[in-house]
């Protein structure tokens, strides 16, 4: 049975789409059949970051409205095998997303895929609610600043109360924290919240820390998921994150100025 994973944050601009693109790519690289869905109807971005914007014919809303079938709509990634993109519609708005429609498409996708990654729009309105409603697991993307952390806290509350699992009294949505745009030297100076500060407030397991990096911007503009950028710190951090998601026990990197200090700090404290 396929696992549905929502990538969400509450706040905009924290790296949801970047994370969705790299996470899905990483899963596919490791041999899992993966599809990533853009739920940001009206503000389509995922196709740009995945570099497939010129291949979009039909979109998510077309399938919901039965104007096209799934196979016409799924875009196969040219770089990584097993990876498909389901783009959002740019000409519609979030009202086009219906619970029944989304459920039907997810059920259909579950037949052919191992992982379904839902890239949520910002906010806590319809688009975001639809993206998280059917989720089994959630990657909550946060930046090390107070407003982003508070919005993530809000979205965690919504996951715990308004997802299908919550409504049906099922086991809760499994939560993972992704701390993106982290700059250890600024956290050390106190300009930014530290990893520990964020963990203390949100209280959910840390899946990965993605360092602030120019490569993310460059690769976004080039339409390449940053996980494919060999030698980049952000790419390596995403690669670790995917391995951890799949159950590998890896130490967190890029969280302190000396690249090994985090665990020391974590355990040396007592």
């Amino acid at each position: 049975m396929a696992t549905v994973i929502v990538v969400t944050s509450g706040k905009g601009g924290v790296g949801k789409t970047t994370t969705s693109a790299s996470f899905a790519t990483g899963l596919a690289q490791r041999g899992y059949r993966t599809v990533v869905i853009d739920f940001d109807v009206g503000l389509r971005n995922l196709d740009l970051i995945m570099g497939c914007e010129r291949r979009v014919v039909y979109d998510f809303v077309n399938v919901i409205n039965n104007e096209a079938n799934l196979n016409q709509c799924l875009i196969r990634d040219k770089r990584v095998e097993n990876l498909y993109i389901l783009p959002a519609s740019q000409t519609r708005d979030k009202d086009a997303l219906t619970k029944e429609g989304v459920e039907r498409i997810l059920n259909e996708l579950k037949q052919g895929f191992d992982y379904i990654v839902c890239d949520s729009p910002a906010g806590i309105e319809r688009g975001a609610l639809m993206a998280l409603y059917f989720a089994d697991e959630a990657l909550v993307v946060t930046n090390p600043e107070v407003s982003s952390v508070r919005d993530s806290d809000r979205i965690l509350g919504i996951l715990a109360s308004r997802s299908r699992r919550a409504e049906q009294g099922d086991t809760p949505v499994k939560e993972h924290l992704v701390l993106a745009r982290y700059a250890p030297e600024r956290a050390d100076r106190g300009d930014m919240l530290s990893v520990d500060d964020v963990l203390e407030i949100l209280g959910i397991p840390l899946l990965g820390v993605i360092p602030e990096s120019l490569t993310v911007l460059q690769s976004s503009n080039a339409g390449v998921p940053v996980i494919l950028e060999e030698g980049s710190e952000a790419g390596a951090a995403y690669s670790d994150l995917v391995d951890r998601f799949l159950g590998k026990d890896l130490p967190h990197r890029f969280t302190s100025i000396q690249k090994k200090g985090f665990l020391k700090r974590l355990f040396g404290r007592g």
Binding site: I124, R150, D153, R154, G157, S161, I201, G203
Partner: protein, 238 residues
Amino acid sequence: MLLRSPHLASEETPPFELKGSLFTLTVLHLFQMDRTAIERHLVEKVKQAPSFFNNTPVVIDLEGMTDSLDGLDFNGLYELLRAHGMVPVGLRNGTPIQQAAARLAGLPALPESRANSGAKKPDKPEPALHSRLVNHPVRSGQQIYAPDGDLIVLGAVSAGAEVIADGNIHIYGVLRGRALAGVRGDAEARIFCQSLEAELVSIAGRYRISEQLDPADRSKAVQIHLTEDRLVIEHLTR
């Protein structure tokens, strides 16, 4: 926000207000439905203490009823009691059918007494406390209310979250959001938390915001209560 307290003057005064209150009522334990026997006993009782039976409200209790008849004549009973200076105000215990018959005679069914294990326990009215337990963190934007009792939160209360209780609030994590205890005016209510980083704390309408909290109390395990209408924050010692 649920700041419903007489301390907060509203812009215009409403014509009435609904409030819960506790009364001591006389309970008439009815053992059998023999009208003549009841009347005979009543006359005797009234003779003993005539001033007591002067429009005295009574609750009829059917717990010790030996007649298993469903069709009790509540209208007749009502008239009989009225005639001897008692005003029946409700019914306690009894079968659902008896309760329905009583309701038709204008007698609402009252909840069973809490101390009904021992037959001869004193009928002391006890406040019905229903505490609510929350075993997950209360996240930003969530509001949790415990009506009629205490609220116990095992996790943290995040900034932007609100926990509200008619009684006390116990938080076994960090309190970063708002906590409002005794929202229906109970000045005895208290707030307990493991670490005080609240945006707002309130007891019975008296509140203090984050800015007004003493920095010395910050991040401390505290209890908060009202003394002479003032919020007092005390550190909890281990």
